[in-house]
């Protein structure tokens, strides 16, 4: 285990981190997650800035708070590690934090003592827990008690909140007092201050529950739950079930609430108003909650309007802090090595000799440099080491270029034709679909644990001959690649067996040699499309893996699942290279940026996060969705991101500015698939409501850019009517649209299972 921790932290800093995990096998899986999660995020200095992480990493300790509190938190972690016999990890942590052995010892004992008496909530624990609740902790740790709560009482105590004891009878009064105040203020401030209601409501309710005032909690809930915004319904439903302190122990949603600060953006004027009011009324209860559990991001300028607030709120932890989206993102595209070669030249090459491209390569590069127009927003070509192009990849690129010349220019006047691939007899079992980039293969993941691959071209699927037969082949012959294929195995579809639970995500590698699938069984599997066998099972998630995605350059892939951690893998490493922790709920979808330097993850916490692969940082947090996000798509130029959620809305984001720039309303059910056309003019969305809709993305982007929004505050006015952007709606009869894909010539392919 210590080595694992080591690797994690190093990996963030160093690129090709050596992966060594000798004793990993003996380690309990949950703890692996936790520790690993902490360290990954720690090294990256991830946004929620977990205290554990920031202290453990010797880097810039971002998390504020008194040093003693930090120390205590650290002690708790050390204690936990020690208790689980992670001696190495303790050593490393101690070395990095610069803590002396004896002080650790003594403090640890102190801690343990307080932990033992934790149930009685002595003074010591009070301060401890208060302290820890000021700083936040990683959800990975937060999630841990759900599984191993009994094993780690010390950590639990450290992290527990709501120790203050107010008079439960007064809570209702406090809340309605605030309500009255907000209703009495000027209109321009009312909308902003109304944001306080929801987090205050939740925290007050939880405090009541935590302090065992069950009846008061129920009454409080019944009285005020109706006031909350409708998009918080799902969380309120969870909340309503929770009436006992014991329930809080295992409930992830509430743990998130307790351990992460709810972020509000309020203008300075409004904030002053609120502060004055609370001070006048001596309303310490509410003030304490605001201090401890809320993060108020104050800005100078005009208070925001209700619609502006509504468009950005809805996430589990409020809006993103402004500084969270300030980091520079290199959203430009990488230079394509071949892209500089004149087309006709390539055509000849492709037709004449297959071996030639390689020979000409140096020439190409020299020519390329001439016409090089480096995109200022593009990352360094070697910022992330990318796999070398193979000859076959180059051939494919040439094919791509050829096809691209025949591409249809789309626009509002020329919409794409749609070809729908319907899965028949799937008995509701189809859970995931993917197309290869050249649209020659379709893979389907099914609830019966199988993955099926179809060839949609006349070319059948063939597997390679067995080893014994391969020995007999003349390796020198020109058609050796043809000879190695077993003609007898040719069929239109192949079934891949290996998972032991529903397959929730499939992804083809760009070179069509591999297929990834992730499943409820917690594994990601890599399949060979040459032999149609499983090559690797990537273990690490332990909980259902909801989505996986190959990098557009191959080799890397991302996976995300119920454990709230997105993992970046390389196909030749059986352990993840990066772990992206920060989401407060399941990661439901993943997507690689076209330049492969970033990944986007969508989550059930209703946020989209963009992560930098280089250092593991979270560089963007997009809030505004009102339901779990189920689909993501980057525009081909890398500038924009589209996300679709269960609320049926599609949101458009400007990655460079970190802003929401559009809202596409129309779908009536979960948007399960999004795709930009090859040139980015059209955005296609497919939904559970059995429709494919086409949107004018150019117009959506242009409209915003002509607006004079202030990029600094990020307060945008969305166009009211997204119907103008809707170019077409196409119904299927009873087939939810699960996947969309634009062929290289801009024909739109859609797929779904017929659902009688």
């Amino acid at each position: 285990m210590p080595t694992v921790c080591d690797t994690r932290s190093e990996m963030a800093a160093v690129q090709d981190a050596p992966v060594e995990a000798d004793n990993e096998k003996e380690i309990k899986t949950e703890t692996l997650n936790d520790a690993a999660g902490n360290h990954a995020s720690a090294a990256g200095g991830v946004i929620p800035s977990p205290p554990v992480a920031s202290t453990s990493s010797s880097g810039p300790a971002k998390a504020g708070g008194p040093g003693s509190e930090e120390q205590q938190t650290l002690m708790a972690v050390l204690q936990f590690l020690k208790k689980n016999n992670f001696v190495g990890a303790v050593d490393v942590l101690r070395r990095e934090a610069g803590i002396l052995e004896d002080s650790d010892e003594s403090q640890g004992q102190e801690l343990a003592a307080s932990a033992l008496g934790g149930a009685e909530a002595g003074d010591a624990t009070c301060t401890l827990s208060r302290a820890s609740s000021c700083t936040t902790s990683t959800p990975a740790v937060a999630a841990a008690p759900a599984k191993g709560g009994e094993d780690q009482p010390d950590v639990n105590v450290v992290l527990s909140a709501y120790s203050q004891q107010g008079d439960p009878a007064l809570y209702q009064g406090y809340y309605s007092g605030l309500k009255k105040f907000v209703e009495s203020v000027l209109d321009c401030h009312r909308a902003e201050l109304s944001q306080l209601f929801y987090p205050l409501f939740v925290h007050m309710y939880l405090e009541l529950v935590y302090n065992n005032h069950e009846t008061e909690a129920k009454a409080f809930f019944e009285k005020f739950s109706g006031d909350q915004e409708c998009y918080y319904q799902d969380d309120l439903r969870v909340l309503s079930g929770l009436t006992k302190k014991e329930h809080m122990k295992g409930n992830e949603t509430l743990l998130d609430f307790r351990t992460s600060k709810f972020v509000l953006r309020i203008s300075r004027d409004s904030y002053q108003l609120l502060k004055r009011h609370l001070q006048e009324r001596q309303n310490n209860q509410i003030w304490n909650i605001i201090q401890e559990h809320l993060y108020i991001d104050i800005f100078d300028g005009m208070p925001r309007s209700k619609s502006q607030i509504d468009s950005m709120s809805g996430s589990l932890a409020g809006e993103a802090k402004r500084e969270a989206n300030k980091a520079k993102v290199f959203y430009g595209l990488l230079k394509e090595p071949e892209i500089d070669v004149p087309l006709d030249d390539e055509d000849e090459e492709g037709e004449n000799e297959e071996g030639k491209p390689k020979k000409k390569k140096p020439k190409k590069d020299s020519m390329g440099s001439k016409s090089k127009k480096q995109d200022p927003n593009a990352p360094q070509q070697n910022r992330i080491p990318l796999p070398e192009l193979k000859d076959s990849d180059k051939l494919d690129k040439i094919m791509y270029m050829k096809e691209a010349t025949k591409r249809i220019r789309l626009g509002p006047e020329s919409l794409p034709s749609i070809c729908f691939y319907t899965f028949l007899n799937a008995y509701q079992g189809l859970t995931a679909v993917d197309f290869t980039d050249d649209s020659s293969l379709i893979a389907g993941g099914f609830a019966d644990s199988t993955v099926r691959v179809w060839s949609v071209t006349p070319k059948k699927l063939r597997s390679v001959k067995s080893a014994a037969d391969l020995n007999l082949i003349d390796k020198e012959s020109d058609d050796v690649l043809e000879r190695i294929m077993d003609e007898k195995s040719a069929s239109e579809s192949k079934i891949l067996y290996g998972h032991s639970g529903p397959v929730y995500g499939v992804s083809f590698s760009p070179d069509r040699n591999y297929l990834l699938s992730c499943s409820e069984d917690g594994t990601v599997r890599l399949w060979s499309l040459q032999t149609f066998t499983c090559l690797v099972g990537y273990k690490g998630h332990n909980y259902p893996v909801w989505d996986t995605q190959f990098s557009p350059y191959g080799y890397y892939f991302i996976s995300g699942g119920h454990d709230r951690v997105a993992r970046l893998w390389a196909t030749d490493h059986y352990q993840p290279l990066r772990m992206f922790a920060g989401h407060l709920a399941d990661i439901t979808c993943t997507q690689f940026h076209p330049n492969s330097n970033y990944v986007a993850t969508g989550s059930a916490d209703r946020t989209v996060r963009l992560w930098d692969i280089l250092n593991g940082n979270c560089v963007r947090i997009f809030t505004g969705h009102k339901g779990p996000i189920h689909s993501l798509a980057f525009s081909p130029n890398g500038k924009y991101l589209a996300s679709g959620a269960t609320d049926g809305r599609v949101l458009l984001w400007d990655i460079g500015h970190g802003l929401m720039i559009g809202e596409l309303k129309g779908h009536t059910d979960t948007v399960y698939s999004l795709k930009f056309s090859r040139d980015g003019e059209i955005l296609a969305s497919g939904s559970m409501d059995n429709t494919v809709r086409l949107w004018d993305s150019i117009k959506a982007f242009d409209d915003i850019e002509t607006d004079d929004f202030t990029a600094a505050t990020g307060h945008i006015h969305l166009p009211e009517n997204s119907q103008e952007l809707l170019l077409g709606t196409y119904m299927t009869k009873s087939t939810p649209v699960i996947h969309l894909h634009f062929t290289r010539r801009n024909l739109l392919l859609a797929a779904g299972a017929y659902n009688p």
């Binding site: 309120l236 009436t243 014991e246 919409l415 691939y421 028949l424 409820e520 119904m731």
Partner: protein, 625 residues
């Protein structure tokens, strides 16, 4: 609305009674009330929690329905052993029971006998998942509006598991492969069409002759029957199947008349339904028994009629791909060659073959004549075995004579030597000889009349009304008994608008002659019209190129044999068909001039007196025969 459910969701708890019941079921007897309350809250909360997790699985499974599998997975995620045995796809049927002051909802689990499971045949293997592409072609000029598929247009049976093929159609709102859609569509009939279908089929097999005539007329002329064609063909094929077993001659005849009417409808193309119609028709030709009393009933006429239908469909639909004619010929020949074939079937085979044309007669029947002759002789002159056999033999004999005489007359060189005939055809030789001579005489006679395009009915031919020539040949005579149809059976009739006959029991003869190029055709059909409407029956030669006058002779009173009687009056109806036989504008003229039966007058010279009807069903009706 939210306010309605919100307070509710807060307070939804399992009743404490449930806790007690569950505790008892696991062997905990006396549970404290307090423990029950505590348990209730805990259990309710945990259940909600699990359901919330299960919802995640539902969403990721891209479904709208929460299944028991989702709950299993949610339990697994919480490290709880899933509940096995709840694999029901559908709603789990909870049963309610009360008793002992308790109300219970329980899931009924029946004891299963293992041997039952083993012995039941395996259920069908679920269909393999398959892919189907359907395309929405975008028109360049406009955005496509939503396209709705008419409900009920397609069947989704296959997908639900009861269908046959994996390639079952699947409904898409998108524009899809049209050909494919058509092939699988069921063609819902409108209410009007359903009514029409019901009325027509009832009338066709009902007892009212007038209605039947009307119905058949409608079938033969209505241009919009295409949608009902599959139903009609099924109706006919099923009807024949049933009625052959029951020997219901009348119904079989009605059904054959429906086939005839369908064939006559120029807007219908029957080729797709031949697989149903041909077996029905062939059944009516060769079935061993078609009626209850073979010795009395005239099932021979049905066989003749069906044979003509068969010949007609062969001519119309036989192609090199379906090979109808050769397949039918083979079938007939096979049973003809079989020694054990009954006379009835033998008759049918010969009739069927004969109708296929002189070439078929020449190659397949003429060589058989000596053998058949011997067989007939054995029955007719040998010891009397059964009356039925005798009648059968007689019919076969006359049928052979009728068909072969014409062919022989055309092919065999003169002179007709009786001895030679006897040598060649043994028993049938002498009879054939006389028929051939007669046929030759008629041919000469007709050759003279060709230019006049009329038919002269001469007194010198006592069997005139019954004579019917095969195509392109000279008329051969036929025993009246063969062609006379019992008055209750009408093979063909038109609508009742035709003037009724003065005499109810009249037997009518329709003589039709035509000249088509060099060959002249004359056909006479005898029909009995008894009660109400007068059937106008006519046969039209196959060639429709030349001008085709139609002569209809209506005899008032008297049977076929008494035609020549001086007391009878005959009506000559001259029907002139235009050059295009299918044109509906052909006029029929009826000459009501009463002439003595003995007179042989050129009828076409008669002035037209009355236009019978402007729209002639006969024209399209008898397109070719």
């Amino acid at each position: 609305m939210e306010d309605e459910w919100r307070p509710k969701q807060c307070s939804v708890l399992l009743p404490t009674e449930s806790m007690k019941t569950m505790a008892e079921s696991v062997g905990v007897g006396q549970l404290q009330e307090e423990s029950c309350v505590a348990l209730t809250e805990e259990v309710s909360y945990r259940i909600k929690e699990i359901i919330q997790d299960a919802l995640k699985f539902m969403h990721h499974g891209k479904r709208r329905k929460l299944t028991s599998n989702d709950i299993d997975h949610a339990l697994k995620m919480k490290n709880v052993e899933p509940l096995y045995g709840f694999q029901s796809q559908e709603f789990i049927p909870f049963r309610f029971a009360s008793g002992g002051g308790r109300e219970l909802h329980f899931y009924e689990e029946k004891e299963v006998d293992l041997s039952d499971i083993i012995n039941t045949p395996l259920p069908r293997v679920p269909l393999e998942v398959s892919l189907k592409a359907s395309k929405e072609q975008q028109k360049t000029e406009s955005t496509e509006p939503l396209k709705a598929v008419k409900p009920g247009q397609e069947e989704e049976g296959a997908i639900q598991g009861k269908g046959q093929g994996a390639a079952a159609t699947e409904g898409k709102g998108k524009e899809k492969n049209v050909a494919r859609l058509k092939a699988r569509s069921t063609h819902e009939l409108s209410v009007e069409q359903q009514l029409y279908y019901k009325e027509i089929t009832e009338a066709c097999v009902g007892s009212c002759e007038a209605k039947r005539a009307e119905a058949l007329q409608s079938i033969a002329t209505d241009p919009g029957l295409y949608q009902m064609l599959p139903r009609f063909s099924t109706f006919i094929s099923e009807g024949v199947r049933v009625n052959v077993v029951q020997n219901n001659l009348a119904l079989l005849i009605y059904l054959m008349r429906m086939v005839k009417a369908l064939m006559d409808n120029p807007t219908l193309y029957l080729e797709k339904y031949l697989h149903e119609l041909i077996p029905a028709v062939v059944t009516c030709i060769v079935s061993k028994q078609l009626c209850l009393r073979p010795d009395v009933d005239n099932h021979w006429a049905l066989r003749d009629f069906a044979a003509r239908l068969m010949a007609q469909s062969c001519k119309t639909f036989s192609t090199t791909t379906n090979n109808i004619q050769s397949r039918i010929t083979k079938t007939f020949t096979k049973s003809l060659l079989d020694d054990r074939t009954q006379w009835t079937t033998r008759y049918g085979c010969i009739a069927g073959l004969s109708e296929l044309g002189p070439d078929v007669i020449k190659t397949l029947i003429l060589p058989r004549l000596p053998v058949e002759g011997a067989r007939i002789k054995a029955v007719l002159e040998g010891p009397v075995i059964s009356n039925i056999d005798k009648i059968g033999a007689e019919h076969v004999q006359s049928l052979l004579l009728k068909h072969c005489a014409g062919v022989i007359a055309k092919t065999r060189p003169l002179p007709d030597n009786l001895e030679q005939y006897r040598a060649d055809y043994s028993y049938l030789g002498p009879l054939l000889h006389s028929h051939v001579v007669k046929a030759r005489a008629q041919a000469t006679l007709q050759a003279q009349q060709v230019n006049r395009t009329t038919v002269t009915i001469t007194q010198s031919r006592p069997t005139l009304p019954a004579s019917q020539s095969s195509l392109g040949g000279t008329g051969g005579s036929r025993a009246p008994s063969i062609i006379k149809v019992p008055s209750s059976l009408t093979l063909m009739s038109t609508r009742p608008g035709t003037p009724t006959q003065p005499s109810p029991s009249a037997t009518k003869y329709i003589v039709m002659a035509t000249s088509a190029g060099a060959a002249s055709t004359q056909q006479v059909i005898t029909l009995g019209a008894s009660q109400s409407s007068s059937p106008v029956t006519s046969t039209v030669p196959s060639s429709a190129s030349a001008q085709q006058p139609l002569v209809k002779v209506e005899t008032a009173g008297g049977g076929a044999s008494s035609v020549g009687g001086s007391r009878t009056l005959q009506k000559y109806i001259v029907v002139s068909l235009p050059t295009s036989s299918s044109s509906s504008s052909s006029s029929e003229t009826k000459s009501s001039t009463t002439v003595p039966s003995s007179s042989a007058s050129p009828i076409s010279a008669e002035p037209t007196v009355k236009t019978e009807r402007s729209e002639s069903p006969g024209a399209s009706f008898h397109g070719s025969h």
